[in-house]
């Protein structure tokens, strides 16, 4: 049998050449398309490896910096390096570059990135090559780097002191080589290289008030379990800015925090007495008042310390007055006093509340503990009350001499005591509920330390992250570019497969009589099928030999295009070709299966016909019966329907009309062919009529060609109509811009909203001018970009905190924003996201109702639920929640760094009245329309790729017309011979055949094009830019290919004299 295979292939080699060529093409395109996808995926993995260097694990302390001591201790047992990371902006002459990643590194950093700078001196900054290029600097240039002036305390924590928001560092430039891996260092999964600056760690720590602190510790050559174990063993409270000291006359061990409030996790798990000390604006009794007083709430359930000897039990509405306070107010036991205090409002403003208590008792101040007051910055260390700068509005005129005297004598001794539960109720806030914990001294220091340390790491918000695993997941789970590219290549793959299938089928048709012979000789259908399937298998395996290398050439070409002409689709030039044996095997197997299935199906069709028919060769289709006009009438109905849809004239209906019209065209074509086939003879016959009748003799073949070319042309043009031309009116509040003209962000967050009274004052803005605008200020928790600009799957997406009231009527959600303020039954946090972000960025394909988990500031996973989707908005890339939930999850994220600006008045000069005031904060203002265009550019580029590849597919299809001519000539040899015998010259017959096929080609392309143009109507109406030039070029190439193919085939097929056929008979 193998001898029979080989002999058959060799004998029919000329005819098989075309089939072979078709198979090689199909194998090449299929493997090539799959290899593009796998190359992109592997490139993303490579990028992840580059950006992480040798980092395997990280101890994440970004929002809760830890002491360098901890890092050094860990370094004695593990291979570590510590880094202080923050965002900043760089200035050189008149150029400013924002969103620069500033990294303070130590001498161990080069262990993780061998090409990283070593021993950086204090006045030097090493810039990544891309940053240096963008900034226009070279080695030795001086530039200014602005970063946030850090504090352990969040900026909007009441009672924190005010300070400068940013620091400017003047540094000398050194530029990293372009090939440097360390230049690519980033913890965020993205294919776009970051803009990096590397500084001396100590320099950055000292200049930004972060002395001795780091916010990331990297580890390598270890495993997660060991890292966690070592971290837990070595961590001490001081590493997380907490101090254990003796207090209350040494009767207690007290834990306090430099951040004023203790982490809730430590408080909840402790067995200690709890204290919450605050500043009251005023304590009043009748007309008398004591201003600006330290007040404490202490625990009456767990009583540790000598203080309790002097205190009666207090219920939640009772108060114990310090004697000095009682005398100042003239109050006695049983009197009702009021306490006024500030609390943090949801929108970041301070609100003054009042609480009333009944005096239960009076105690001498000496009997209380002055250490009950935490080290409030701006207060604790001041000599005089009038020197206080607590960060809340204070009227210094109210402070009396006696208040100064009290401060001199008693310092922070509370002026009154209430029950801790009440204190928590009134003064507890998102930053914390407790200012100290107290254990009995008798417990012993080591025992207390042990209790605190038990879950100290976790409770202090430190987490160990397997960054390699996350990076792998981000690259693997990201947009499956493989499948995306295969889907964009859909048409060219289908065309190539169909063409090769067609050629295979033609080949087999020619050998039907062989099947008949074998059947007549006693071979079963199964045996006959096996023989031809075997030939098909041999042929397709042979086709892989040139097919795979050709496919890889195709891959290389496409990757080069993705890095250049189609750059916008992936946003990076760092995609390289990777040859994956597994992908090639999958592609090859798919291809072989397709070829075998085609052969099997065709042969099965033939062997199921009577043997006598098989012996006669290809079936001469006899025209019998009547025309089947059901589809014809349906076609007319659909035509009328599509006209109605066009007249009704809404965008969606145009799309439906276009599709309906295409169906109508195909059904009408079928009907027309039927009418021609079965039509009565016409007296005024013509060659034109002959051509049309000839097309109708093989209805299925002709219809197949029409469907392929019409649908293909339709798809290529229709994709142009899918490009989302966002509503060109940026001021439309329901559009993707929300009606906001500008989208702005800062590298250094602003403490105050620009349009608030505090902001106007702080940033020296003209209130009258600013009143002409509407500015929405948002908080941002930095994370992975989950927009379509990022090919990686975001593992820790950005989060925006907003006030739902400020968004009323904006974007497509209009008045549905209050859904963010609802309490969900399962306790999850409601969030909104752009549809692209939710579906593609995060892979939550169910959309609204999907659940997801994000990390809070403490590193704990929090469930969120998608409750709304924005459509094609400027807010892509993040999850959006209300301020209240944001502050709960990220209390340390203070300030505002994202702004949407609506400028209804044309007279408002944004540059003069806004932008110039915030340059030092690294402000970047983007036109909202342009921002949206950038997002849409990606989809638009994908559509262009689909069009180009679809066009290529159609060209292949057009080339297939040439083979149709060969086939038809073969079928009609006898007829053509008869025509010659009747006096037609070969040239005449060639013309007739050419006209037939060109008519079919043009008919099918024109049908597809006209139907697709209906879907363009809404775009014409909106004045959108349409790629007319590109489409016309593609169509011209298709027609050109078809014409050339038909002409070449017509001349090739007509080389012999047909009269030989008649002679042989």
């Amino acid at each position: 049998m193998i001898k029979l295979f080989v002999k058959s292939l060799l004998f029919y080699k000329r005819r098989y050449l075309w089939t072979f060529a078709g198979l090689v093409l199909a194998a090449a395109i299929l493997n090539g398309a799959l290899s593009v996808g796998s190359s992109v995926k592997q490139s993303l993995h490579d990028m992840a490896a580059k950006r992480l260097g040798g980092i395997e694990f990280l101890v994440d302390a970004r929002l809760n910096p830890v002491s360098q001591r901890l890092s050094d201790q860990l370094g004695e047992k593990l291979d570590t390096t510590s880094v202080l990371m923050m965002l900043g902006s760089a200035n050189f002459q008149n150029k400013q570059v924002n969103n620069v990643f500033v990294n303070g590194i130590d001498n161990n950093f080069p262990n993780f990135f061998p090409d990283a700078p070593k021993g950086i001196d204090e006045n030097t900054a090493w810039l990544s090559h891309n940053l240096a290029t963008k900034l226009g600097v070279k080695d030795g240039d001086g530039f200014v780097l602005r970063v946030r002036n850090h504090s352990l305390l969040p900026g909007d924590l009441p009672l924190t002191g005010s300070s400068d928001e940013y620091i400017a560092l003047r540094l000398s430039v050194k530029v990293l080589p372009e090939s440097s891996n360390s230049g690519r260092f980033s913890l965020m999964a993205a294919q776009v290289p970051p803009l990096n600056v590397f500084l001396n760690l100590a320099k950055l720590q000292n200049d930004t008030n972060m002395a001795g602190l780091v916010n990331e510790i990297f580890v390598r050559n270890s495993d997660a379990e060991t890292v966690e174990k070592q971290l837990n063993e070595m961590w001490l409270p001081q590493d997380s800015s907490m101090t254990l000291r003796k207090a209350d006359n040494d009767t207690v061990f007290e834990l306090i925090s430099n951040r004023v409030f203790l982490p809730e996790g430590i408080v909840e798990e402790s067995s200690a007495s709890k204290v919450l000390t605050y500043m009251a604006n005023e304590i009043s009794f009748g007309k008398k008042a004591t201003p600006y007083s330290i007040v404490s709430g202490i625990d009456f359930e767990v009583k540790n310390g000598a203080i309790y000897k002097n205190l009666p039990e207090l219920s939640e509405d009772e108060v114990l007055l310090n004697k000095w306070t009682a005398d100042d107010l003239g109050a006695k036991v049983g009197d009702k006093i009021s306490i006024k205090y500030f609390v943090d409002n949801e929108d970041g403003k301070l609100r003054e509340d009042t609480a009333d208590f009944t005096v239960k008792g009076i105690v001498a101040p000496e009997k209380l503990d002055r250490l009950l007051m935490p080290s409030y910055p701006g207060i604790a260390d001041e000599e005089h009350c009038r020197d206080w700068e607590p960060g809340i509005p204070m009227d210094m005129q109210k402070i009396r001499d006696k208040d100064e005297d009290y401060w001199d004598e008693y310092k922070g001794t509370p002026k009154l005591i209430i029950n801790y539960k009440s204190a928590r109720k009134y003064w507890g806030n998102r930053f914390g509920q407790t200012t100290s914990l107290r254990w009995p001294s008798s417990k012993g220091g080591p025992e207390v330390l042990k209790e605190i340390s038990q879950n100290g790491v976790k409770n202090s918000g430190l987490s160990v992250i397997d960054i390699q695993k996350e990076a792998g997941a981000a690259a693997s789970q990201g947009i499956d570019f493989g499948m995306l590219f295969v889907s964009m290549s859909f048409f060219i793959i289908i065309s190539a497969l169909l063409l090769s299938g067609l050629l295979l089928a033609f080949q087999l048709e020619e050998r039907r009589s062989e099947m008949g012979i074998m059947a007549s000789l006693g071979f079963t259908s199964k045996e006959i099928r096996r023989r031809f399937v075997g030939e098909g298998l041999l042929l397709s395996v042979l086709a892989l030999i040139p097919g795979i290398p050709l496919g890889l050439i195709y891959t290389k070409v496409v990757i080069d295009l993705l890095s250049t002409v189609w750059y916008d689709a992936i946003g990076t030039t760092e995609i390289f070709m990777h040859v994956s044996p597994m992908i090639l095997s999958a592609g090859s197997l798919t291809f072989i299966i397709f070829a075998l299935v085609t052969v099997f199906w065709v042969v099965k069709k033939f062997v199921n016909t009577p043997i006598s028919e098989q012996l006669s060769g290809s079936k001469q289709e006899q025209i019998s019966g009547k025309a089947n006009l059901k589809l014809f009438y349906l076609g007319w109905f659909l035509l009328v329907l599509s006209i109605v849809l066009v007249v009704l004239g809404s965008d969606n209906l145009f799309a439906a009309a276009s599709g309906t019209l295409l169906l109508s065209a195909l059904f009408l074509s079928h009907g027309f062919l039927q009418k021609m086939r079965y039509g009565k003879s016409k007296a005024e016959a013509s060659l034109g009529l002959l051509s049309v009748r000839n097309i109708s003799r093989q209805i299925n073949r002709s219809l197949g060609a029409i469907i392929l070319m019409a649908c293909g042309s339709y798809l290529v043009l229709n994709t142009a109509s899918r490009q989302k031309s966002f509503n060109l009116d940026k001021s439309d509040k329901t559009s993707g811009t929300g009606g906001y003209e500008y989208f702005a962000k800062t590298s250094v967050p602003l403490r105050y909203k620009p349009d608030s009274p505090e902001g106007l004052n702080e940033y020296v803005l003209d209130s009258d001018e600013l009143a002409k605008t509407q500015i929405v200020s948002m908080r941002v928790h930095q994370g992975d970009d989950a927009s379509c600009l990022n090919l990686n799957r975001a593992q820790n997406p950005q989060v925006f905190g907003i006030s739902s009231k400020e968004f009323k009527g904006r974007f497509n959600l209009k008045d549905k924003w209050p859904v963010l303020d609802e309490e969900l039954e399962d306790g999850s946090i409601p969030v909104i996201g752009d549809e692209n972000t939710v579906l593609w960025g995060l892979g939550l394909y169910a959309g609204v109702g999907s659940k997801y988990e994000i990390r809070d500031e403490q590193g704990r996973l929090q469930k969120v639920t998608i409750v709304g989707l924005l459509k094609n908005s400027t807010l892509q890339g993040a999850l959006i929640m209300n301020r209240k939930n944001f502050d709960k999850l990220y209390p340390a994220e203070s300030g505002y760094s994202l702004f949407l600006i609506d400028v209804p008045s044309e007279e408002f000069d944004l540059e003069e009245n806004f932008t110039s005031s915030f340059l030092d904060f690294g402000l970047e203002v983007e036109d909202s329309g342009e921002r949206l265009k950038n997002f849409l550019k990606i989809e638009a580029t994908y559509l262009v790729i689909f069009q180009m590849l679809g066009g290529l597919g159609l060209i292949l299809g057009a080339l297939g017309f040439g083979f149709l001519i060969f086939r038809n000539v073969q079928d009609r040899e006898g007829e053509l011979a008869t025509m010659q015998a009747l006096g037609y010259r070969l040239a005449d017959i060639r013309q007739i055949l050419l006209k037939e096929h060109l008519l079919l080609l043009v008919w099918s392309i024109v049908s597809g094009v006209l139907c697709a143009l209906v879907s363009w109507i809404p775009l014409f109406q909106k004045g959108a830019e349409l790629p007319v030039g590109r489409i016309l070029t593609i169509l011209a190439l298709i027609v050109f290919a078809g014409v050339i193919s038909c002409v070449v085939s017509a001349y090739s097929a007509f080389r012999k004299d047909f009269l030989t056929v008649l002679r042989n008979e």
């Binding site: 008949g516 007549s520 006693g522 043997i611 019998s624």
Partner: protein, 224 residues
């Protein structure tokens, strides 16, 4: 002598271009004994080839009964009778239907790929000698004349020593000399190997050499 072919009331219809049913064979009955020579004649398009195809299990029939060497042919599934065609029935067609990519010898040996008869090549060589093509066996069909191709087709039909040879217009495409040669060959085989011979032919010369002549007219088979 036993009946090697038995047809009883065979009927077959076709649907024509106008959708009408045409009865090509009406209650055709026929018995052929082993070693008998038989020709079926009739006007063009009368259904002679159809009848031959039915006998050879190349086509099915609508009504009636067919037995070939006592095996009932009932199913319309052609595969069921592959073995019958392999070992009992040999075909010679008007167009020789040789595979152009195989040599004459390879064409003749084609059935033996399935039947696996011993000494197949020896048998083939003997057949080549008997038809006078001993020196042409390595030629391709394209290198042989029409008559030579027809003789090769005959060898192929006989390689498995069938009991019955069905020949549809075997001399139709041949010149007079070649036709006579083939006719003599067929008769010799009949005599030497007791081969049952059923031919369909327009040729009176061939028909007259057969022991029995039937005429098929208007679907009815009559012995002449």
């Amino acid at each position: 002598m036993s009946d090697v072919i038995k047809l009883e009331n065979i009927s077959k219809s076709f649907v024509n271009g106008a959708g009408q049913s045409l009865e090509v064979l009406k209650d055709v009955s026929l018995k052929v004994q082993q070693g008998e020579t038989l020709s079926i004649m009739g006007p063009s398009g009368c259904g002679k080839s159809t009848l031959l195809n039915i006998i050879g299990t190349l086509d099915d029939f609508d009504e009636g009964a067919l037995e070939i060497t006592d095996q009932k042919v009932t199913s319309k599934n052609v595969d069921e009778y592959a073995d019958l065609r392999l070992s009992t029935i040999g075909f010679v067609f008007q167009k020789h239907h040789l595979m152009p990519q195989l040599t004459a010898l390879e064409n003749v040996l084609l059935p033996t790929l399935k039947s696996k008869i011993p000494n197949a090549e020896k048998r083939a060589n003997e057949l080549f000698e008997s038809v006078g093509l001993g020196d042409r066996k390595n030629h391709h069909p394209g290198q042989l004349s029409g008559g030579e191709c027809q003789r090769v087709a005959l060898c192929r039909a006989l390689i498995n020593s069938p009991k019955v040879l069905l020949a549809d217009e075997p001399t139709g495409a041949l010149d007079e000399e070649s036709a006579n040669q083939l006719t003599e060959l067929l008769l010799k085989l009949n005599k030497d190997e007791n081969l049952t011979l059923v031919t369909v032919t327009h040729s009176k010369e061939l028909a007259n050499r057969m022991s029995t002549i039937y005429e098929l007219k208007n679907g009815v088979l009559d012995k002449k």
